[in-house]
């Protein structure tokens, strides 16, 4: 009887010490939380803002840098929302003594765009109302830089008055369709 009880306690003692942490691999942990605020970016830049057609005769059609792009705009947005690139002329095309050339004589075209969004690629007439050039994709909206390259063409009317003409073109980056 005594031996039986003694063996019983020896077994329990062994089980206890084998299961004790002193015999197992120990582990301690500390959890830490980290935070950061990634700021919003929403920006548009142009590399060449001067469109110079030089001297053009009445009735002549001139394309700036035929076969290549004339200037490019770079757009960045990381806001996670769809954005639109639009273009328009701010004033009418004004020449000497207030003479005008119709806005439809002045055209633009997107030669290339590196984004994965939707681009308008045909020749388009300028207007005073902003017209759509590019619609972003989800990939564009995470901060990927989108570069859009333009060509410009002027079809001078046959009876345009001689002199210096000028106008201003606006490129817009907007979240409004």
């Amino acid at each position: 009887m005594r031996n039986k009880i003694f063996r019983y306690f020896i077994s329990i003692t062994l089980i206890y010490f084998l299961s004790n942490p002193i015999c197992n691999a120990e582990e301690a942990t500390v959890d830490v939380f980290a935070s950061v605020v990634v700021l919003r970016a929403f920006d548009i830049n142009i590399d060449n803002s001067y469109l110079d057609f030089g001297q053009v005769e009445s009735g002549e059609s001139v394309t700036l840098k035929e076969g290549a792009y004339y200037n490019e705009i770079k757009c960045i947005s990381n806001k996670g929302f769809t954005y639109y690139v639009k273009i328009h002329i701010i004033d009418e095309i004004i020449g000497p003594t207030g003479s005008k050339i119709p806005a439809s004589s002045f055209k633009w075209r997107v030669l290339s765009a590196n984004g994965s969004g939707t681009v308008v690629s045909e020749w388009q007439e300028f207007s005073r109302e902003p017209v759509l050039v590019y619609t972003s994709s989800a990939e564009d909206e995470t901060g990927n830089e989108v570069i859009i390259r333009f060509q410009y063409r002027l079809n001078l009317p046959p009876r345009a008055m001689g002199g210096h003409y000028s106008l201003r073109v606006a490129y817009m980056l907007t979240e409004e369709e």
């Binding site: 005594r2 009880i5 003694f6 306690f9 329990i12 003692t13 206890y16 004790n20 942490p21 002193i22 691999a25 120990e26 582990e27 301690a28 942990t29 500390v30 959890d31 830490v32 939380f33 980290a34 935070s35 950061v36 605020v37 990634v38 700021l39 919003r40 970016a41 960045i76 990381n78 806001k79 996670g80 909206e141 995470t142 901060g143 990927n144 830089e145």
Partner: protein, 166 residues
């Protein structure tokens, strides 16, 4: 021995003797701050957190088990905001200083090493590290925001581990 006496002695040994008698195995982080706040950052920006005298966190380790122990770091959740994530490798730890340690750092002092979803080794103990000498490791942190990262407030969950298994 009388079985009853034996039982009493047994219970005294097993239940009353505190476990602390056996061994010390402890890791603590200095102070109460268990946060790493990088504040506001721009696309492509890189920032190191060294605001507290050249380091961000000090970890204190004590073990007298006589066995090798390891200090590891693991990123349980990378910087996340809604469905957007900053790659874990853009978040790095840097050992600024090792104090009293006789073991081996897995990356040189001041050399950044990336966090990972699986535990990565920072330090392996040796010598007096395993005989009760307190070892201190000071860390700072580095974060680089990718050029293409959606704006928002991001949070990450990191776990530091002191363990006797590699």
């Amino acid at each position: 021995m009388n079985p009853v006496r034996f039982l009493i002695v047994f219970l005294l040994i097993v239940l009353i003797i505190p476990k602390e008698v056996f061994a010390t195995f402890d890791m603590s982080i200095e102070g109460n701050y268990k946060t790493i706040d990088f504040g506001a950052m721009e696309l492509g920006e890189e920032k190191k957190l060294v605001e507290r005298g050249g380091y961000e966190h000090q970890f204190n380790f004590t073990s007298d088990n006589g066995r090798t122990w390891y200090f590891k770091a693991q990123i349980l959740r990378p910087f996340t905001s809604m469905t957007y994530t900053i790659p874990p490798e853009n978040f790095q730890w840097i050992v600024e200083e090792l104090i009293n340690g006789q073991g081996i750092l897995s990356a040189s002092v001041s050399k950044p090493a990336p966090f990972s979803k699986t535990p990565v080794l920072i330090y392996t103990s040796a010598g007096t590290d395993e005989a009760g000498t307190e070892v201190q490791i000071r860390l700072k942190y580095r974060l680089k925001i990718p050029e293409n990262q959606t704006a928002g407030a991001y949070t990450a969950h990191i776990r530091f581990i002191m363990v006797e298994e590699l």
